[in-house]
């Protein structure tokens, strides 16, 4: 493996600006790595070698001409989740319904990346329409976890997390509706951040659940995530739910945190996220991380958020309800797959046949569930009640954040499970997002940072911050990361086993 692929994004950017290495060399090293290992990992659905090299060349030209860098990440390669629109490349959302669909426009996130000189290598695999916690629901086959190829890389953004852990890209974009950035980050030993809802534009993000979806940065290091965060975040008039406020100062917070001092920071441990269902190895790693935070000077308190117990059921009503409506547009009329248009079937029949053939089992299940929850006679008991639970969860967060600066929990109750292990049991699968869902329902910021291994598999520490206070979590994560690496003699991600390389 080229040393270039082991660098952090921040290091690559500095070297490119210093002309120690060209952006083209960096891009080529990652493209070579993808060619060497992606047959085994299957993180990518689409790799755009030509455009990646052209984008890298443009950065090199800027450097050569002495023009200022487009951003602190100019020339750094990135893997884009296939749920974000990008002109000139397919956007499939991991679904047969959208196989070969090319959007005629760029998502705002895509546009910001391209303008920042970030080199987009390609589009990453995901659970179909972001519905899943394992990436097994992709219509194009599962992605494998580089820590153990028999295991899942998390989901729905398993392609993005696996690309990082396999050193195919130093940066990736994920989207998080119930944990789809944080849970994959947790099980692959990478950093995943769900920013405050409304701070990263959803324009061009193919909606799963509009009131919950949020795109965010994925990286192998906290600083890299913060640098990417500042590139993609910010007000967008094309998204009505976009907040017109300055981007939280996350990079500055990382630099502050890296000094290793958390004195005066109050950290609340969510008491509800422990006990039965939490693997002993996960609990042990989490407990050790809390001790580490205490050693850094943080004040640790226990905080109860009783309504969090209702978060999972509320989520599995709200998200499928919104999804049932958002996915109605995939009807074979204007774009995408069309089945049964042989002159004998009506438009309505073609819609039904196409949707039956084009959607996978999990998507159909959630469409059916959402259709049920919104139907006349059930609305109040299900969707209406779930929205009340949402209020209670926000109140729990408000009460907690009145006492502490950040809340912490394990990111997910278990380490990466085996591919196929939970596919027959939807409810077992859904429990992977137990700890991540409350922040989606409340809209506040949350991230996952690796906090050790259990039986050789990564465990994640989730740090939750109040809305628009994303920088608090970054500060704590950066302090913890520095202490963890110092204690363990190097980045945790470097302990990922060597992948077998083809060629």
């Amino acid at each position: 493996m080229s040393e270039l692929t082991r660098l952090t994004a921040a290091e690559i950017a500095v070297k490119v600006q210093a002309r120690e290495v060209s952006a083209v060399e960096v891009a080529q090293a990652h493209l070579d790595r993808i060619a060497a290992v992606d047959h085994a990992v299957h993180a990518f659905l689409h790799v755009d070698t030509e455009r990646a090299l052209a984008a890298a060349k443009a950065v090199d030209d800027d450097v050569a001409a002495g023009r200022p860098a487009a951003s602190p990440l100019a020339g750094v390669p990135l893997a884009l989740k296939d749920v974000l629109a990008m002109q000139g490349a397919p956007t499939t959302c991991g679904s047969k319904v959208l196989e070969n669909w090319q959007p005629p426009y760029d998502a705002t996130v895509t546009q910001r990346l391209l303008r920042a000189g970030v080199v987009v290598l390609g589009k990453t695999n995901m659970d179909e329409f972001a519905m899943g916690s394992s990436t097994e629901n992709s219509a194009f086959g599962p992605t494998r976890n580089p820590w153990d190829l028999d295991r899942i890389p998390g989901g729905s953004g398993g392609g993005s997390s696996a690309a990082l852990a396999a050193f195919e890209a130093p940066l990736a974009i994920g989207t998080d509706t119930g944990g789809s950035i944080r849970q994959p980050g947790s099980v692959t030993g990478t950093v995943g951040v769900k920013p405050t809802y409304g701070t990263v534009s959803r324009y061009g993000l193919v909606a799963f659940s509009s009131s919950l979806d949020q795109a965010g940065p994925c990286a192998r290091a906290v600083l890299d995530a913060a640098l990417l965060h500042e590139v993609i975040a910010g007000y967008d008039p094309l998204d009505s739910t976009s907040i017109d406020a300055p981007v939280p100062p996350v990079v500055a917070a990382v630099r502050e945190g890296a000094t290793g001092d958390l004195k005066g920071v109050r950290v609340g441990v969510v008491t509800e996220f422990a006990g039965d269902g939490y693997e002993p190895g996960v609990t042990a790693a989490f407990t050790a991380a809390i001790e580490q935070l205490r050693d850094l000077g943080a004040e640790i308190v226990e905080v109860s958020c009783p309504s969090f117990d209702l978060a999972l059921p509320a989520y599995y009503l709200i998200a499928p309800s919104e999804a049932s409506s958002n996915l109605a547009r995939f009807d074979a009329m204007r774009y995408g797959l069309r089945i049964g248009d042989d002159g004998t079937h009506s438009a309505e029949e073609v819609m039904s046949l196409t949707r039956a053939a084009g959607f996978g089992a999990e998507v159909k299940r959630r469409i059916m569930l959402g259709t049920y929850a919104l139907s006349a006679g059930y609305y109040d008991a299900y969707y209406g009640s779930a929205q009340k639970v949402r209020t209670l969860i926000m109140r729990d967060f408000d009460a907690a954040f009145a006492k502490v600066d950040v809340l912490v929990s394990p990111t997910t109750p278990t380490t990466a499970f085996k591919i196929g292990e939970r596919t027959a049991d939807p409810m077992a699968m859904y429990r992977a997002d137990l700890c991540t869902i409350p922040s989606n329902l409340a809209g506040n910021a949350a991230l996952s940072v690796p906090c050790g291994l259990s039986d050789g598999l990564p465990v994640g520490l989730q740090i939750m911050s109040p809305a628009l206070q994303d920088h608090r979590g970054y500060r704590v994560a950066a302090a913890y990361e520095a202490a963890r690496d110092a204690a363990q003699g190097g980045p945790l991600i470097h302990r990922v086993p060597e992948l077998e390389v083809s060629r």
Partner: protein, 99 residues
């Protein structure tokens, strides 16, 4: 305890425009039953006087100026169409509500 019948599943599938096989009716009925039973506990707050939250952000009055923005050309609009004719999307016959 909810119990979702095959007929109800068939009705939902029709509302959602999903062609379902006989086997799928049984499969979905069983799975929906299981999931709905698990999520039904949110109903414990149904009678409580709690305002529902539909949006995570406390924004109101987000408007756009009434100013034309460039859109797509006809060619771009139709580029992904499964079928097109005379600048329009061609779709199978529509069974109208009118006779």
């Amino acid at each position: 305890m909810p119990s979702i019948s095959r007929a109800e599943v068939a009705h939902l599938a029709r509302l959602a425009r999903l062609a379902v096989t006989e086997e799928e009716l049984d499969l979905f009925a069983g799975q929906l039953d299981q999931i709905v039973a698990a999520v039904a506990q949110v109903g414990q707050v149904a009678d409580q006087d709690i305002p529902p939250t539909s949006h995570a952000v406390p924004l109101t009055n987000v408007f756009r100026r009434d100013q034309v923005r460039p859109g797509l050309t006809q060619r771009q609009a139709l580029a992904s169409a499964p079928a097109a004719e005379d600048g329009r999307f061609r779709v199978p016959r529509i069974l109208g509500e009118e006779a």
